[in-house]
Symmetry: C2
Subunit: 398 residues, 2 copies
């Protein structure tokens, strides 16, 4: 039964953010069309971390239950020294349900996508693949999206969830992706191919000067996820072939045996330059709004990309419903969504950049960083509570 | 009564190190001649900090009692943020006599020099000023020192205590002073000229990116000592007029009002480039040995320059006496002195460099540093105990 308070919505982009937004709206009775440029809803990539700020939303969406068989509930987040191979500090994750009201999970990106997709399908979202939106117009009374193949979609509002290289963001800002000069190789491999691994109950990040390696198990421990990231000297020199596998190996040459050996099972099929964009607060304009990476692409150091997209999706549906119930316009609903979400997402973007710097320091800064991490009380949550806590009660939206 | 175990000693240099060495040897009955290049035993400079590793030696020398009327016993060592003007951490100094068996003191350099000089005089050290040693020879059976004015001094051994620009060190190493690129302005002013000051019971170091200001009271609080240090951009550019007062003012322009105003009472008569040298372990060769800054010139960040010279003086006298009592040669005594002292002094040199880097960090490193300092338990002495503790019991010198 269509909602009488939610505008008919076109979601552009079928990644985690777009599918989550479509599902959130559909579950509130909204009529949603989602268009995805690719031929299918699979993502290249591997593991994903979901913190309580994301899993409590997934629980409300009924998705948490669906992914339960394929998630891993890690015991700890561990920061370790990639050079000396010793642990620096850790965060106990086992008490997260008590502390934050939701668990910390890791899983394969495609398992999350499948569950979101299944939710969209069973809640009546109209899904279109191979639909590349090349024109999007706010007509004043609605939106019109034109595809490269001539198809046209109409709705009351449109959500640009078209990722880092968002075409729709161009309507909001004239910025470009910022290359951090770091390159990632990532992938998940069957556990039987892995000779050595860290404690399978942990998510572990090995930190070194200008590099790091993140490792954790997926799919009930049947797969091992690895992400190796390093500052490319070739990029700094302007070499277009920057960050190739030879440079990867060279970058990690000074690391501990465990870290070096881990590279042997790392997929080198894709080189991922690590990009973000400067934070912008203006995600909504008239009947259009941005969501997920299109709104706030961030570096991966807080593992919050998908989590923030889920927060967007949840807030979007809530603000649109609140606007409808209060007889405010959809545009006012989108503005309320952006006003509510932008400050926090911008903070996460900025903190992710800073956290990346902290992970990669060298020299005396590394000396201080390691001392700080080792001195840190492992029971102290002051650096993460702001991320994982339930959002403060909704402002009154007068 | 001359000692029958100590060799007759020529000390070259009448600074804190040279006078301390002469006094230590004289108190053990040694026959000591000290030659100083200048016309008097006054030092340009201002305040000096004496940690327990120095004051416990001064107590044994009878000097602590003499300087008592002119010292200040500060309550705390404080590290503060020069930009934001807030305290970062502190170390309580009031329990030092209980904890380390000796107090932490600050005083005017000349007050310490006077007391050491008085000790030398009353214990029969032959003191010669205006004696510029230009040639020093180990003859195998003794040493001969020739002065610029033709005077010649002979002794059983010679100690090169001729400071950072030591001429005698050239016999041991071909290094040169290393310019850190930092420049200091320092001086003590009568308290009535000081409009604003930090708590007079504290030694306070204001830390900023590429700069710091140290302040503490002298002479029972009648004078105020200030040292302003900054990284000279002009030095980095190769400008010979680097670190001039205009650059000083510019470097501190972004500091808190208190720090900026303090520069108004700072003496700008002397620009002091901050120099040290690489650590070397070989301080003794035959009948010659180095001591104090000639052996281990260090950056000032641990305030250990004079303290380490006092440790040298004490160890030198002890090792020479031990060698004499065991019928070992003076050269063996000097070798034992160097072997005992060099590892520690080299560690202090290296740590002073690192500490300087930590004081002057910027960006994310400053963020981490400030967090670490603020998180630090003020009762934790792990970073200083190795400096201030009584040296471990003397090794058996077989």
């Amino acid at each position: 039964m269509p909602s009488d308070v939610l505008p008919e919505t076109l979601v552009v982009g079928g990644g985690i953010g777009g599918l989550s937004a479509a599902l959130c709206l559909a579950l509130r009775g909204g009529t949603v069309t989602l268009v995805e440029r690719s031929k299918s809803f699979a993502e290249v990539g591997a593991g994903i971390q979901l913190a309580p700020n994301a899993t409590r939303i997934l629980r409300r969406l009924g998705v948490l239950e669906k992914i339960q068989p394929v998630v891993v509930r890690p015991r700890r987040l561990v920061l370790a020294d990639a050079i000396e191979g010793r642990e620096l500090t850790s965060l106990d994750l086992t008490d997260f349900p008590d502390r934050y009201g939701a668990p910390y999970l890791v899983l394969h990106r495609n398992d999350l996508l499948s569950a979101l997709l299944e939710g969209c399908r069973s809640n009546g979202v109209a899904l279109h693949t191979d639909a590349h939106v090349t024109a999007l117009e706010d007509t004043g009374s609605g939106v019109t999206a034109g595809c490269a193949d001539g198809r046209e979609f109409r709705a009351g509002i449109a959500i640009g969830a078209d990722g880092l290289h968002s075409r729709i963001r161009k309507l909001f800002a004239d910025d470009e992706p910022v290359n951090s000069g770091f390159v990632a190789y990532r992938g998940a491999v069957p556990m039987e191919q892995v000779e050595r691994h860290a404690d399978l109950r942990d998510v572990i990040a090995w930190l070194g000067p200008g590099l790091h390696l993140v490792q954790y198990p997926l799919r009930s421990g049947r797969m091992y996820n690895q992400v190796a990231v390093f500052r490319s000297q070739a990029y700094l020199r302007g070499d277009p072939d920057y960050g190739n596998p030879a440079e990867l190996k060279e970058a990690f040459a000074g690391c501990s045996e465990h870290v070096r050996e881990s590279l042997g099972t790392l997929s080198i099929d894709n080189r991922w330059p690590m990009l973000d964009r400067p934070p912008i607060p203006g995600w909504a304009c008239g009947r259009l709004a941005l969501l997920g990476d299109a709104a706030h692409p961030m570096l991966q150091y807080l593992a919050q990309g998908a989590c923030q997209a889920l927060e967007d999706a949840d807030a979007l549906a809530e603000e649109l419903a609140a606007a409808g119930q209060a007889n405010r316009t959809p545009a006012e609903g989108l503005a309320a969504y952006a006003a509510r979400r932008a400050p926090r997402a911008m903070r996460v973007q900025r903190t992710a950049r800073t956290w990346g710097e902290i992970w990669h320091v060298d020299g005396v800064a590394k000396l201080i960083r390691d001392e700080l991490l080792q001195m840190r009380d492992v029971a102290d949550h002051k650096h993460v509570a702001w991320l994982y806590d339930e959002a403060p009660p909704e402002r009154s939206t007068s």
